[in-house]
């Protein structure tokens, strides 16, 4: 009898391990910037609070819009404007240019110009991973001497906050060296107008880059993230279902009740007791 129990324990252990692996596989994705992506290009390690409704934003908080890919309706633009006027700070991190529409609607002159910036002042072999230097005085860059950028886009307009060195060029032909019609020039990677800051590099918030700029990440906390428009969600239906259940109290209560049924059946009194 003891031998049977030992075998059963071994099988149970293996089943638990397999179950854990299946759970980990099913509840994570590989989508870029997703909160459920634990890989290098996800944002699962970013400690933020998600916000889906732009109405009830606390005044004085910081709102991060990370790589937006959903358009903002006129109503939402109005809420954002009210939030900005009430003293809240908005940080838009975008490297593809999708935020230009929102910036135009908010009445700002700043725009994101995507390109292939490369620089000679870098610590890595890849020419797109180079250092930027804070200029001016902004609280999000206080105490930061250099920022490690990861294939950023240039930002035009506004008051510059983060500049690259002069030995930076837009590598139009993608060969990694300057040549032909490419010329050196500093590029502005982060600019601000009042309470609205535009950062041309959304990659600063992925898991692999958080360790590269610890002071900057510390400076922007505590931060709310606009989950409805940022690319931090996922298309995976299972994860979305689990999140929905967790967030809706009625569904969570229903699940807890369902989980209690087998326990009740096992330990409850039966008719033939």
């Amino acid at each position: 009898m003891a031998k049977v129990r030992r075998e059963a324990w071994a099988v149970l252990l293996i089943l638990l391990l397999a179950g854990g692996a299946v759970y980990a596989h099913a509840t994570t994705t590989t989508e870029e910037f997703s909160r459920y992506n634990v890989g290098w290009n996800g944002t699962s390690n970013l400690a933020v609070e998600e916000v889906r409704d732009l109405r009830g934003l606390p005044p004085g908080a910081t709102l991060l819009i990370l790589a937006p890919d959903v358009a903002f309706t006129a109503e939402e633009v109005g809420y954002l404007r009210a939030f900005l006027e009430s003293g809240g700070r908005v940080l838009i991190a975008d490297e593809e240019g999708n935020a230009n529409r929102l910036l135009a609607d908010l009445g700002s002159t700043m725009r994101v110009r995507p390109g292939n910036l490369a620089s000679l002042e870098r610590d890595h072999v890849d020419p797109g991973l180079f250092t930027g230097y804070p200029v001016g005085n902004a609280t999000i860059f206080s105490g930061v001497e250099t920022v490690l950028l990861n294939r950023p886009a240039a930002v035009t307009g506004g008051e510059p906050l983060l500049e690259t060195s002069i030995l930076t060029w837009d590598d139009a032909d993608g060969d990694g060296r300057i040549g032909g019609s490419e010329t050196f020039g500093t590029a502005v990677v982060c600019a601000r107008e009042g309470n609205l800051t535009v950062l041309g590099d959304a990659s600063l918030f992925v898991n692999a880059m958080l360790a590269g700029n610890p002071k900057f990440i510390e400076n922007i906390r505590p931060v709310l993230i606009d989950a409805a428009h940022s690319r931090t969600g996922t298309a995976n239906p299972l994860i979305n279902a689990i999140t929905w259940v967790r967030e809706t109290p009625a569904a969570a209560a229903a699940f807890a009740a369902l989980a209690a049924l087998p326990v009740a059946w096992r330990f409850g009194r039966k008719i033939d007791d």
Binding site: N41, E121, D123, L129, R151, I166, I178, G179, M209
Partner: protein, 527 residues
Amino acid sequence: MNRLASHAILAAAAVLVLALLGGEAASPVLYTAENTSTAAHADPATIQKRSPGDADALVPLMDDLLGQTGTLALTIKLRDYESAERDLARYSELSRQFDRLVVTLDVSGTDIGEFQQNNRKNQEALEALLNDTRRFEDLKRLEIEVQDGEQRMAIAYEGEALRQKMREGFSAYAKREPATTRIAEHYDLNTTPYQQSVEHFAEVADAADDWRPATGGTAASPLAIAVTPAEGRYGDTLRIGGRYAGGVPGTRIEVYVDSRAAGAATLDADGTYNHPYRIGRIVAGPHLAYATAGGIYSEVATFEVLTQNTTITLALAEVNRTAVACTGNLTIGDGLPVAGAPVLIRTDDGTLAAAETDENGTYRTEIVLPGGEHTLRAEFHAAGYPLNASESPAETVRVRGEGLSPLPFVAAFAAAAATGWYLRRRRPEEEPVAKAAPVPESPGETPPQVEIAGLPPREAATVLFRALRTRLGIPETKTPRDCARIAPAHAGFFERYERIRYAGETPTDEELRAMEAEALGGGEGAA
């Protein structure tokens, strides 16, 4: 499933897995997180770091160079020749560093490359200015001392030549100012010292002009000089010559280009001299030529050297497992080869190998590379040539890399031998026991009567062991292991008993029954 089948299946599976793994043994790293990157970002953990390098030294070095022009021009103007020599040495050193940096960082195609060329010309101009001013001072002193009329004329001619050199030098220097200032402002450099250097240069040239009337007239030198044609390109031959009024035929006329001796000619019977000058390693732009006959200096003639485009080719060939031979040709647009020119070969990891072209414009060099694919490019940086830089298209080559070396195999063999020796040494009783002849079973002996009911299992096993040992006729002094060797047919029984007796295991009832059957002369069923 019986044991034989299960063992056979396990053995086959093990052999199959080992064969599959053995197939991968040549490249044991089956998978690593490679250089993962998407369009938006790259994983910094998988990108190789490189030393920050000297890119941040580039712009400050340009600033230093401009500052040096200012101090050097000032010390020349103040006639502090010792400080000027020191400044010039420092300026040359900085220029050399800057040239190396520009080539290493591969930025010679940008406006920094243009700045580099202007800087080199400025350096040569300031060096010439220093030497000319010093000589000028000597002449002024000599002029006061010397009384002889002929010698005074010689001094006058030389002074006139120097004055013209300084004047031409200044005009070229000033012509370079707008471009250099424009580039310097692009990089936010301090251009004040440089602009001051232009002013100092102008003052020195003006001071030389002021001296002229004091010598009594602008008598033209009897030694005439002209350069025909007045402009040329690399490889062209210019004719530097003229007439020497009142000169003795056969006198040696020395020709100088840019204050450096370029050759000598002899005066013909009709009082003319001719020196062919081939344009070789000399920068593009305006240049000066003058001649001397004894102490008589001619006037200064200018000629212009024009730039040309070059083409460089690269061909790669494998020499052996680790080296690649790079050959190619460096020619000017119309096919004229460039001889004795330095060529750089840049490998994909940034290292540079140097080579030189021979008189046919061909270069050949061998480069040792680690195994794998490599991309190489040949570059010609027209340092000091009136030619434009050029680079060849990138060529790829596959290097096989070192073959297998015998050392690991030797190590493996030695390790196996050592392990074998160690394990043999621990079990010496293999040899003596094997010599004992196995005792034959005597059939027909009556099985001993033993009673094991009621005994604890281990004691029962002991009784059965003794019974079997007696039945087989093995002496009582033999241990279970010895019995197993002597009577291999019952090895299983004896091995099991050995574990029971000495390792404290307890036999089950089933086992005891089997052992009993065997001990009393039953079948072969080993426990």
